[in-house]
């Protein structure tokens, strides 16, 4: 026989087959698995656009060149980046390539009978023999049946096998991972996620234009947005008197569904969202909106209503801007709302408690060009004061007014606002099912052992066993088996 090995020339099919075999090999799968873990790290070290767009903006402001390069490598969008996707898609292909053939094999093996008892049992592990009494085969048959072994009986010998659940669980675990991935993809294609700030007492009509931000999947259509109307009736926040930490938020709303004439009263809390069909509504944030009236020099109302301010600290010191573009020249107010005002040197005042116990509105008045026509998008919470000059500074209690050159502003009071998240996540049940199956599969595969036990009865009784992967516990099991056969307790 020649020792020369034949290396077949690789044609394109051969090459593909070679690549497939490499990809689905266990070693590659392991490397890919570790790579997914390592690739997830940068996303926890750098701010991500999906979670913290403001901080990403700060990176671009602080060091634009570095940020631009980081952005080229998707370091601000790690989990949606091509390289992260490439790794997990390869991992899942490898997983499928590994699991599918094993499923077929396992299906075949599970229906096959155990192999016949080996001739020479004394060569095997846990071998024992003693002189026969005669009824051992009968006893063994019963024992195997009670323990649900699969058995093959041939001429005075029994070959018994157990522990197929291990591989079944293993396969189910891996299939469940695919299920989770499907659920996630399904959600990203057909899901939607929107945010809206609604003042207490106001209505929210569920149409795309009502949202402050709205994102939906590629296959989600505008017409899929369910129509309903919400009225925010009441919002109560409770705080710890010593630490100012929030203790409870309760939001009461009135819901009017499409085609219905009855108004349903609902309650939303942080851990119990409201469900409307496939949409869930979450209470995410809250704050204050001071109500102001701005008059021009003739006393005509130029602006009136609540203005949403953004909370800055645990005591809800909130900042915001009031813009009056119709005045001539244009007027803008930069404001701080302090729910519980206390005097403090540097900022002119601070808030000592998140509840509105002693509300105060601090304003600086600016006159000039608000820059709204420049085409550059502006924050509604800030004013670009480059084309303006400051003409006044004042702190107001509710009901007080401040007269400046060219008009006046009255601090009428305040309302609270809540930030509501509207989420449709159609794939989440699939993902949950995947999670449950994965755990059950894991338990089955980690806590069952596949093993064989043989018995042959002639003049002597011979017993032996074999455990796959040298799993522990077989010795004890065989000891018990032998004791039973010998009639010992």
């Amino acid at each position: 026989m020649s020792q020369q090995t034949q290396i077949p020339e690789l044609d394109s099919v051969g090459l593909l087959r070679y690549a497939w075999r490499q990809l689905t090999s266990m070693r590659t799968a392991l490397i890919l698995l570790l790579m997914v873990g390592v690739a997830a790290i940068p996303g926890s070290l750098f701010p991500q656009r999906t979670q913290n767009p403001l901080q990403v903006g700060q990176y671009f402001k602080d060091s634009p060149d570095a940020a631009r390069w980081m952005d080229r490598f998707y370091l601000f969008d790690v989990y949606g980046s091509p390289w992260f996707s490439a790794i997990y898609i390869l991992l899942f292909i490898s997983l499928i390539g590994c699991v599918l053939p094993r499923t077929f094999e396992h299906f075949k093996a599970a229906r096959a009978l155990p192999p016949t008892t080996p001739k020479n049992l004394s060569r095997l592990e846990h071998h024992q023999s003693w002189s026969a009494q005669g009824n051992e085969l009968e006893l063994a048959r019963k024992w195997f049946k009670a323990k649900r072994f699969r058995v093959l009986e041939v001429d005075g010998s029994i070959s018994a096998e157990k522990g197929f659940t291990r591989e079944t669980g293993n396969l189910f675990f891996h299939l469940a991972l695919i299920l989770i991935l499907l659920g996630i993809s399904f959600s990203s294609l057909f899901g939607m996620r929107g945010e809206a700030i609604v003042n207490v007492g106001e209505r929210f009509v569920n149409t795309p234009t009502s949202y402050d931000t709205l994102n939906y999947g590629k296959l989600y259509k505008d017409s899929n947005i369910p129509s309903f109307m919400l009225t925010v009736d009441k919002f109560v926040a409770q705080y710890n008197v010593e630490t100012s930490a929030p203790e409870d938020y309760t939001l009461d709303v009135s819901l009017l569904r499409d085609g219905s004439t009855t108004i349903e009263k609902k309650r939303i809390k942080v851990n119990s969202p409201m469900t409307i069909g496939s949409t869930r509504v979450y209470l995410q944030a809250n704050g204050y909106a001071p109500v102001v009236t701005v008059r021009d020099s003739k006393g005509d109302v130029a602006f009136q209503g609540p203005v949403t301010f953004l909370p800055q600290d645990a005591n809800l010191r909130s900042i915001g801007a009031i813009k009056v573009p119709d005045a001539d020249p244009q007027i803008g107010f930069l404001g701080s709302f302090l729910p519980t005002y206390v005097r403090e040197g540097a900022n002119g005042g601070a808030s000592a408690f998140p509840k509105a116990l002693n509300p105060r509105l601090l304003l600086s008045v600016w006159s000039g060009d608000l820059g709204l026509d420049s085409g550059i998008p502006q924050s509604v919470y800030r004013i670009d004061t480059t084309g303006m000059k400051q003409i006044g500074l004042k702190g107001l209690k509710p009901g007080e007014s401040y007269v400046y050159e060219g008009g006046s502003i009255t601090f009428e009071g305040y309302v609270q606002w809540v930030n509501l998240n509207f989420v449709a996540d159609p794939g989440k049940k699939l993902a949950l099912l995947g999670g449950i199956v994965a755990i059950l599969g894991l338990l089955a595969s980690l806590f069952t052992r596949r093993r064989r036990i043989w018995i042959r009865v002639g003049d002597d009784v011979e017993v032996a066993g074999l455990a796959k992967n040298a799993a522990p516990g077989l010795e004890l099991e065989i000891q018990g088996f032998v004791k039973m056969l010998k009639g010992e307790k």
Binding site: A29, L30, G37, R193, N240, E242, S272, P273, A431, L446
Partner: protein
């Protein structure tokens, strides 16, 4: 009422600290005696002398466990909730879970040699908790008010305790492996289990607790769905929980499917465990995201 419970809890935790310290000293004494005893190089050690000290060490460990257990419970009563609202509470509960995992494993395996490492880790954890991480007992922020707190955090803490125990054993493996590769084990190390059983024990602890960790992550996802409107958002804590999961999954595959044993497996185990520690320490203190509450 709640304040007196908080004081009671503090006293119990302090007492536990003292008792664990005694346990540590006893373990140290035992180890030290064992090193000192041999008179002639080839004789094996006589452990009769150290037996009493070793028993005291284990008894103190058990006493410390119950004191700490009572301390954690009292802390929960004082706050009117499960005692897992901040890092001080995670740390004392984590120390409890770690020493509990050791004591339970001790019933089944001869692990007393590990007591020195376990007691010093518990001592350091409680000490750091009392001196650096302590915050007064207070109610929870609204997002934490959920029955999932009980389920998610308890399983995470138990998993962490067992992961770390497995890590300590893997580290012991590597240490002894190095010692053996240079020659014979030193006298005191001779009584430690052989490399193979260390290797197997470390693996069995991981295999035992990996499904629990999976469950903890999934329970967290279910909770996140009801509190934050999404079940997975790559929050730093979630990301590192995922990394830990992936690392241990790789470890299990390496062992079961490829057949890694010994040194390589121990290193992989240490790597996986360090991702858990990193998540606990780094992400809690310096990280940003939705898992950071009330300072620490």
């Amino acid at each position: 009422m709640s304040r007196s419970w908080a004081f009671t809890s503090n006293y119990l935790v302090y007492s536990a600290l003292a008792v664990y310290a005694i346990s540590f000293l006893a373990h140290a004494l035992e180890t030290a005696w064992a090193v000192k005893v041999p008179t002639d190089k080839n004789s094996t050690l006589d452990y009769k002398r150290t037996e009493k000290v070793a028993r005291i060490a284990t008894a103190m460990m058990i006493l410390g466990f119950f004191l700490l257990f009572a301390g954690v419970i009292a802390r929960g009563i004082s706050a009117g909730r499960v005692p897992w609202g901040n890092m001080y509470e995670f740390s004392i509960t984590g120390a409890l879970a770690f020493s509990g995992a050791y004591l339970i494993a001790l019933r089944k395996f001869d692990l007393r040699w590990l007591g020195l490492l376990v007691s010093i880790s518990v001592l350091l954890t409680i000490g750091t908790a009392i001196t650096v991480l302590y915050v007064p007992s207070a109610p929870l922020v609204p997002a934490l008010k959920s029955e999932w707190l009980l389920i998610h955090v308890s399983t995470a803490i138990i998993s962490g305790g067992v992961f770390l125990l497995s890590n300590v054993i893997a580290a012991a493996y590597l240490y002894l492996d190095r010692m053996e590769s240079k020659g014979e084990r030193t006298q005191w190390a001779k009584r430690l289990p052989d490399l193979e059983s260390l290797d197997l024990l470390s693996y069995r602890l991981v295999a035992f607790v990996f499904p629990l960790w999976t469950f903890s992550v999934i329970a967290g996802a279910i909770w996140a769905e009801s509190a934050w409107g999404r079940y997975w958002g790559w929050d730093p804590k979630e990301t590192w929980a995922f990394i830990t999961w992936v690392a241990y999954a790789a470890y299990l595959h390496a062992r079961v499917t490829i057949g890694w044993r010994g040194r390589r497996a121990a290193w992989l185990c240490l790597f996986a465990g360090s991702t858990f520690l990193f998540n606990y320490i780094y992400v809690n203190i310096w990280g940003t995201g939705k898992h950071t509450y009330s300072g620490l």
